[in-house]
């Protein structure tokens, strides 16, 4: 059966994770994604292109490990858009594309002569999806962001913290991943609409808005009840108020930096936990009901920690889950990648073939479609790896014409 998205072509200017992660989804379901890069700056508008992690001693613009992870199965071409002939080639690609994607700062494509108005003039039913932190409209539309800035401004950094401490934040660009997911949804919804009506459109994404949608109940508590999340005491985000649960936290285990998450949803979970721990404090009056456990949660957490500190984290998680209590070891990368039967069984870490790096494992997709599943086979394109292929196969240029363009520094 043909791949799910094999009828679609994307003219792709995205980079980093927030944009490239989105078109990776499209490519993994068979869309033809043509990555446009600048030969003069060796594609460095994507800072990940030549960055760590590396395989062994390999270094250079083609072998960035994160870049490979985010750009599997895409075609990579170079166009020097300072030159008119390159603009002509880009125009020919757009004429044959369904979607143009980018996550530049506002105005970059326009400056090159490929803003939305020009794109429509080239292809009236084009779908254009722009993705940046503050969007293309509004007072901050010239401000610059990357994942951690989006998370800071939108409230996600603030709500990840322990009492008495500054914000912990997310420890990685959660909103680069998630901004990419919203970009995929935007592309796909616009394609659904186009499939039914023939109509294209522009989708303006501000990931600071996508991020705020992830805090809905807290925002409604503010607008409806005027209760702010900023309180004199910082909330412990390892606890849970909606709904209230106690114990609910991350507790130390045997060994260095080993931790166990436990969540007792109700009195039954708590009684089951007490039955396993079997220490006198489990019977204490102050822990007898949920409202009491919430009131004395600091003391409860101290007791649980003193018990958990001598437990091995995986054995303890197995013991608790077998008794029906939600619990899980805090897994380190090696544990969840190499030693976790669930990620392995799901086929979550496929191996792709990269032209210079050889076989490399990458993040797969966390879904399986019974009729048209995803595939990842080829690593990220080396700089200009598919320029000749795209110019000859898609646009009908002769090998001689391609050579001429190369000599003129167009490609």
């Amino acid at each position: 059966m043909a791949a799910a998205l094999s009828t679609f072509r994307i003219c792709d200017f995205t980079g980093q994770l927030a944009g490239a992660g989105a078109t990776k989804w499209m490519a993994s379901f068979g869309a033809e994604v043509i990555r446009i890069e600048d030969p003069v700056r060796e594609g460095r508008w994507d800072i990940l292109r030549g960055s760590a992690p590396y395989v062994g001693k390999l270094r250079g613009i083609d072998v960035g490990g994160a870049f490979n992870n985010h750009n599997t199965d895409k075609l990579g071409i170079t166009l020097n858009l300072r030159k008119d002939k390159a603009k002509q080639i880009l125009t020919e690609i757009i004429q044959q594309s369904d979607v143009v994607t980018e996550n530049f700062a506002k105005g970059v494509l326009e400056k090159w002569g490929f803003g939305y108005e020009q794109l429509k003039a080239i292809k009236p039913d084009i779908i254009y999806v722009s993705n940046c932190g503050f969007g293309h409209v509004g007072p901050y539309s010239d401000f610059r962001t990357w994942g951690p800035i989006v998370q800071a401004v939108s409230g996600l950094t603030f709500t990840s913290a322990l009492p008495g401490q500054e914000p912990a934040g997310w420890g990685y660009s959660y909103m680069d991943h998630t901004g990419g997911y919203y970009m995929v949804m935007a592309i796909l919804m616009a394609l659904v609409h186009k499939q039914r009506t023939g109509e294209g459109q522009w989708v303006d994404m501000a990931t600071t808005e996508s991020a705020q949608c992830l805090h809905g109940p807290a925002l409604l508590d503010w607008t409806v009840n005027k209760r702010p999340t900023r309180q004199p005491t910082v909330a412990n985000s390892n606890r849970n108020a909606w709904p209230g649960m106690a114990p609910h936290g991350i507790y130390p285990c045997q060994g260095a930096d080993e931790w166990l998450a436990i969540a007792c949803r109700d009195d039954a979970d708590w009684q089951a936990l007490g039955g396993l721990i079997k220490l006198p404090w489990c019977e204490a009056e102050i822990f007898a009901s949920l409202s009491l456990r919430l009131e004395y949660q600091d003391q409860l957490d101290e007791n649980i920690s003193s018990w958990s500190a001598s437990q091995e984290k995986f054995a303890a998680a197995d013991l608790l889950t077998a008794a029906g209590i939600p619990a899980a070891a805090v897994q380190k990368p090696q544990e969840r990648v190499d030693q976790d039967s669930s990620t392995q069984g799901f086929g979550l870490w496929p191996t792709v073939q990269h032209s210079k790096m050889g076989k490399v494992r990458v993040d797969g997709q966390p879904v399986h479609l019974s009729a048209t599943d995803w595939q990842m086979k080829r690593g990220a394109p080396c700089l200009s790896e598919h320029t000749e292929q795209v110019l000859t196969d898609l646009l009908g240029y002769s090998a001689e014409a391609v050579q001429q363009l190369r000599e003129e520094d167009v490609i």
């Binding site: 760590a52 800035i149 603030f158 912990a168 607008t223 009840n225 709904p243 507790y251 805090v330």
Partner: protein, 408 residues
């Protein structure tokens, strides 16, 4: 005109899947929630409007169920099952996050349902995958985030403090993003081929591929990242990036100045604030501003002058931050081209002038309470098929008669 008009989605009510239904419903899909008698348990989650509990007063419920309709059906009795089958005949898509065995036991799993609707798209979201025995074990958002990777990367430089889970049920949200992405992919394929399919979404897998360098540092180089306060977990320690400002709030300094024009702008700003006299290192900012050619960042810590220039950049930011509010620091830095963020609380983000100017605050009518309330708006702005909350979350049983009349 809406993007998903005419697509009917049946959602078996469950706190884990509710965000996926909202994302579809706010883009125009006809999403029908199937709730048990008494309603879904998340109708009783705090916070409540005016702090008064009630099945139609949960703000948690309100947020996650906008633009949907609700029908009460008891899937455990044969009458309810018959009605559910009628619903499926009228539907394009089923989304659910039930225990993996439940629907098969009721005779309502994919194999049963495609006999009624052969192009059905059935999305099953589970903890660890539909065929993984671990999916039958109890989980919450916290335990999923711990097992799936985000928690390991998040926390403080002090590793005697536990790692941290960010708030907001982001484990469920992440699974729901993949539910929507995969079902839209299947809808497009069905548009070409006429073929439906079964989709298996694992929340554990979804979190595992949402950890950035956590996963790929191991996949590519077998290196382990370690958590750091307010910045990326990393295989080697990096410089601090959070600054306490004069109003007691924090800002994230992002990437410190690293181009001559940035040093120049920073120096000008320092002068505007009349702080140059308080800053003996200003001379190094001037050197940075007048630097010929590109900085060789690999020499920081080795070349004395370069090191002094870069540390002056950071110290200037610290000095400015100590004299002005976090918001003014953010605005001032961005105005001179530095990618800095104020660490807003959610309500501060929501009331921010940019958020307001873009129209992110939307009013939703609650006829039952004779009032309207302000909700978070569109996660993306479609030019021709705009996102819209078409109705408040359904009251318990509100559309049961209406929907049963439609399908019978």
């Amino acid at each position: 005109m809406t993007a998903l008009a005419g697509l009917r989605v049946i959602e078996i009510a469950n706190e884990r899947i509710s965000y996926a239904g909202k994302l579809l419903a706010d883009m125009g899909a006809d999403v029908i929630l199937v709730e048990p008698a008494g309603g879904d348990p998340s109708r009783h989650y705090p916070p409540f409007v005016d702090d008064q509990p009630g099945p139609d007063r949960s703000l948690y419920w309100w947020h996650y169920n906008t633009s949907k309709r609700s029908v009460v059906l008891n899937l455990d009795d044969s009458n309810g099952q018959d009605q559910f089958r009628q619903l499926i005949k009228s539907a394009d898509i089923l989304i659910e996050a039930e225990n993996p065995q439940r629907l098969a036991k009721l005779g309502l799993d994919y194999a049963d349902l495609i006999k009624l609707r052969d192009d059905l798209i059935h999305v099953a979201m589970t903890s660890y995958g539909r065929d993984d025995p671990k999916s039958a074990l109890p989980v919450t958002d916290l335990t999923l985030m711990a097992a799936g990777g985000p928690v390991w990367s998040c926390g403080y430089d002090d590793h005697s403090l536990p790692p941290v889970r960010g708030l907001g049920n982001q484990g469920y949200n992440t699974g729901c993003h993949f539910v929507v992405m995969s079902l839209l992919t299947a809808v497009l394929h069905r548009g070409v081929s006429g073929i439906g399919q079964f989709i298996d979404v694992s929340m554990h897998a979804a979190l595992n591929v949402t950890t950035e360098a956590g996963s790929y540092s191991w996949l590519v180089a077998e290196k382990t990242v370690h958590r750091q306060t307010g910045r990326h977990a990393s295989t080697s320690p990096s410089g601090e990036s959070q600054i306490l400002c004069a109003d007691g709030r924090y800002a994230n300094t992002g990437v410190p100045p690293r181009f001559p024009h940035e040093f120049s702008s920073l120096l000008n700003w320092l002068r505007e604030l009349k702080l140059e006299a308080d800053f003996p290192e200003a001379v190094f900012l001037e050197m940075g501003a007048d630097w010929q050619g590109a900085f060789d960042l690999s020499l920081i810590g080795k070349d004395d002058t370069l090191t002094a220039v870069f540390s002056a950049g950071r110290h200037a930011l610290l000095l400015i931050a100590s004299r002005i509010s976090a918001y003014d620091f953010f605005f001032g830095c961005q105005s001179v081209g530095l990618s800095v963020g104020v660490i807003n609380s959610p309500e501060e983000a929501f009331e921010d002038p940019h958020t307001v100017a873009r129209g992110f605050q939307v009013d939703v009518e609650h006829d039952d309470l004779a009032s309207s309330y302000v909700y978070p708006g569109a996660p993306y702005r479609f030019e021709k098929t705009p996102w819209q909350i078409s109705r408040r979350a359904p009251l318990l049983g509100e559309h049961t008669e209406e929907i049963l009349a439609e399908i019978n």
